[in-house]
């Protein structure tokens, strides 16, 4: 016993060092499991408040850009109004297909929630944005996030009034998208090289692709409704040894000046995930 105490006293510093290292590394590697519940709520509120103070200043300088984005989005939505369409023959009447709105919400699958961005990074390998909307305002982990220009990422963590969103510019982020023309599905990832481009993988070589083609969201991702803009093809890398293209995609969202986003809640996500999980278990 005496020897043990002597040993501890002799190597106290080293043991303390090991203890702190183990604590830090366990924080790092078990981040998504228990850490968030215990700590992230308090810390998220705190950093969120500071980020918000800062973004108030930054926001002022970006008003012009935000106005332009909102005007562009309004234009796009106005184009869809039925008042824009008229037949020369006055006898025909145009009727838009209307979605049934029911209070039990059995048909509505996606709900859009607006949120303001209060913090963001672009120049690390693991980029997140912080939005000022959290648990108390109906944001939950695993919700998709889009900007007026295109998709942004997925909510990974929430505190009472803030939420962290893993963006496309995160090394571990993956999302299923499709090519607008052909409908071939692939996965978008980020290789960490340049924040201006992401990589689209698993597009079979049978697909017709061209530089400039639109990449849109696929409903199979279950995070986003279909046909939201994700990006445009910037370069086609033709790897001769593979049956798949690797496409360099320019994201349509500008992550450098993003200010407002929409969080998309999928009401049927839980049901779908549960089914998929049980199917996987069945055949293991």
């Amino acid at each position: 016993m005496r020897n043990v105490i002597l040993f501890i006293r002799k190597y106290a510093n080293f043991l303390f060092f090991l203890l702190l290292q183990i604590t830090a590394l366990s924080f790092l590697f078990r981040y998504n499991k228990y850490h968030e519940a215990a700590w992230m709520n308090v810390a998220g509120e705190f950093t969120g408040t500071i980020n918000q103070r800062y973004s108030k200043v930054e926001y002022y300088f970006r008003l012009k850009k935000i106005n332009e984005q909102l005007a562009a989005e309004n234009t796009r939505l106005n184009q869809l109004l039925k008042e824009n369409f008229e037949r020369p023959d006055g006898n025909e009447k145009i009727v838009m297909d209307t979605v049934q709105t029911d209070t039990v919400s059995q048909i509505r699958k996606y709900t859009w929630l607006g949120a303001k961005v209060v913090g963001s990074t672009v120049n690390t390998q693991l980029n997140f944005i912080t939005i000022h909307r959290g648990l108390l305002q109906d944001v939950r982990p695993n919700m998709g996030v889009v900007s007026p220009q295109g998709i942004v990422g997925t909510v990974v963590n929430v505190s009472d009034n803030y939420a962290s969103v893993m963006t496309l510019l995160h090394r571990q982020y993956k999302v299923v998208v499709k090519i607008k023309n052909g409908g071939e599905r692939g996965t978008i990832e980020w290789d960490g090289v340049s924040p201006m481009f992401v990589t689209l993988k698993d597009i079979p070589k049978s697909a017709k692709v061209q530089v400039g083609d639109s990449i849109v969201t696929s409903p199979t991702s279950s995070l986003f409704p279909g046909n939201l803009m994700a990006g445009t093809i910037a370069e086609i890398v033709d790897d001769k040894s593979s049956n798949f293209y690797t496409l360099k995609v320019k994201p349509s969202t500008n992550f450098f000046n993003i200010e407002y986003v929409y969080v998309i809640a999928n009401a049927q996500l839980l049901e779908q995930r549960r089914l998929e999980d049980s199917t996987r278990k069945k055949f293991q």
Partner: protein, 177 residues
């Protein structure tokens, strides 16, 4: 200003500079991340014990981590350099008893060459460990080497600028007081 107050002030300032200035800069290249924040640990007084150095470094790294959403990443690297700091200081201290006569490591207390060797060694350790932890989850060996070298170069430049802009006058204190 008392030394404790000064260090608390620096703690907040270094975190804010790192989060709201250096991490807001438009990225130049994937190998380059401008890190300056850990200079706080290099500036801590000589008189602090190794255990308290590590405790402060852990808290400091963790505060940055909560802004960057990477709990533990920077904290681990900070604790490493806090642990290694006394070894490096002992090896490089040129004047006999400089660690008693001066308050903290600086150009005045250690001299130009030893001070920057001290900064360089700890910078390399910090970045190597940080990038190594990143490399465990993604990346390649080229990424590891490239990023350590490029980031070290940028950090050294930033530290040199900081030292020149905010020159710390250190009073010579005799131990007869």
């Amino acid at each position: 200003m008392s030394e404790l107050l000064k260090n608390i002030f620096r703690f907040v300032l270094f975190i804010f500079v790192q989060v709201f200035i250096l991490f807001k800069m438009p990225p130049l290249h994937r190998f380059i991340t401008p890190y300056l924040y850990y200079l706080y640990i290099l500036w801590l007084p000589f008189s602090m014990s190794r255990a308290s150095l590590m405790a402060v470094a852990f808290l400091f790294g963790l505060s940055l981590d909560y802004f960057m959403h990477t709990p533990g990443l920077h904290a681990a690297a900070c604790v490493l350099i806090a642990y290694l700091r006394p070894f490096v200081v002992n090896m490089l201290i040129s004047q006999e008893g400089a660690d008693k006569n001066y308050l903290s490591p600086s150009i005045t207390s250690m001299g130009w060459a030893p001070y920057f060797t001290y900064v360089f060694v700890l910078t390399v350790f910090h970045h190597a460990y940080l990038v190594f932890l990143e490399w465990m989850s993604f990346g390649s060996f080229l990424y590891f080497i490239g990023k350590v070298i490029a980031t070290t170069a940028i950090s050294m430049l930033l530290i040199l600028l900081t030292e020149l802009l905010f020159f710390r006058k250190e009073k010579f204190r005799t131990n007869t007081v």
